[in-house]
Symmetry: C2
């Protein structure tokens, strides 16, 4: 599949490398290609392009930017380049401006997932992967052989089915559909526990298995 990834941090890099390995045609979109290349300490696993070019050519777009700038980054990619397409939103609204632990810049009665869907009503937004660290997103088998759970939120059932298929390529086996995009509040609000567990466990490589 032709996939455009917005975001050049560890999530964008890790997912790009994994998608290339799985045979997908990946372009990494960034606001300023020259500036991103200039400050990169190692090569990117896929070609860079402007956010608009990466989104225009893609069948599926992944938002791997920080939750506080996601709507701006997607606006830079161009609403016309998102219209009708599946947009996987991985972002979390973590605000470290007051130090550790971060708080959420939006929660409880709204979420980044909803903000993105409202800003781009023609995009088919699916919130997922935001509850685990990048290495676990791409390779769930890194933790407990992959025997743990991932959540999906979104208004479009076909978009969620497309995303679930891609997640199964990564190795995800227990994928739980929570319902419409407002359920993204629930997964984004898991982050305050996540950051405390990271401290208590001394690792970022953990997840939850939903037992029922």
């Amino acid at each position: 599949m032709k996939i455009g990834i917005l975001g050049t941090g560890s999530v964008g890099r890790t997912l790009s490398a994994r998608l290339v390995e799985l045979g997908h045609d990946v372009v990494i979109g960034t606001r300023d290609v020259a500036a991103t290349e200039a400050r990169a300490e190692e090569p990117f696993p896929a070609p860079l392009a402007t956010a608009a070019a990466a989104a225009a050519d893609a069948e599926l777009i992944i938002n791997a930017t920080s939750g506080q700038v996601s709507v701006a980054a997607l606006t830079g990619a161009g609403a016309e380049n998102l219209a009708g397409k599946v947009v996987i939103d991985i972002s979390n609204p973590l605000d470290f401006s007051q130090g550790f632990p971060p708080f959420l810049s939006v929660c409880n009665t709204d979420s980044v997932g909803e903000q993105v869907q409202r800003a781009f009503p023609e995009a088919r937004v699916v919130k997922t992967l935001n509850t685990v660290t990048a290495a676990v997103m791409a390779r769930p088998e890194n933790v407990a052989g992959g025997d743990h759970t991932l959540f999906l939120s979104g208004n479009d059932a076909d978009a969620k089915a497309t995303v679930a298929e891609l997640l199964r390529e990564f190795g995800w086996r227990d994928i739980v559909d929570l319902g419409d995009i407002t359920t993204a509040r629930g997964t984004e609000m898991m982050l305050p526990l996540w950051v405390r567990l990271m401290n208590a466990l001394g690792t970022t490589e953990f997840n939850y298995k939903l037992v029922r």
Copy 2:
């Protein structure tokens, strides 16, 4: 152990019954004993008393009231009756005033656990059990044979050790200490996901196993 339980809803009833079964000396505290008895549809599993009497006689106190009234209920029990004692806080700040799904009346930069600890600085508050339904609190083996996780938050290490021992009597085996009482934000903020999962799964009897 002499245990005072504040709260006559399903959490208070279920935990009272389980603690009596385990051989503890339980008193259920309520604001108005006659009114609580008058509206009860079935007998209580332990004797009722005023909140103050239940707390005064107890070695350990359990707050099983709604998070929105917890500080008021504990104030009714009397700060002098909580001083120096372990107070298990199970409450969640779920606000159903706008319908379903509920939002949280406090979150992100504060929690009920912290409110209770601030209001009663001499109490040794331990937040736990608030992430599962009453039947699972009391009998974790009801889900997946008990192979799942419970979290603890609190400022007092001895109080957390006392609570962990009581939880092991219930059948809890994987008990994770998150840190001080501010980590209660993390577990209270799991509730928005919990209520959506309840809908998606069609049951309240589920939990998470922390895999690492």
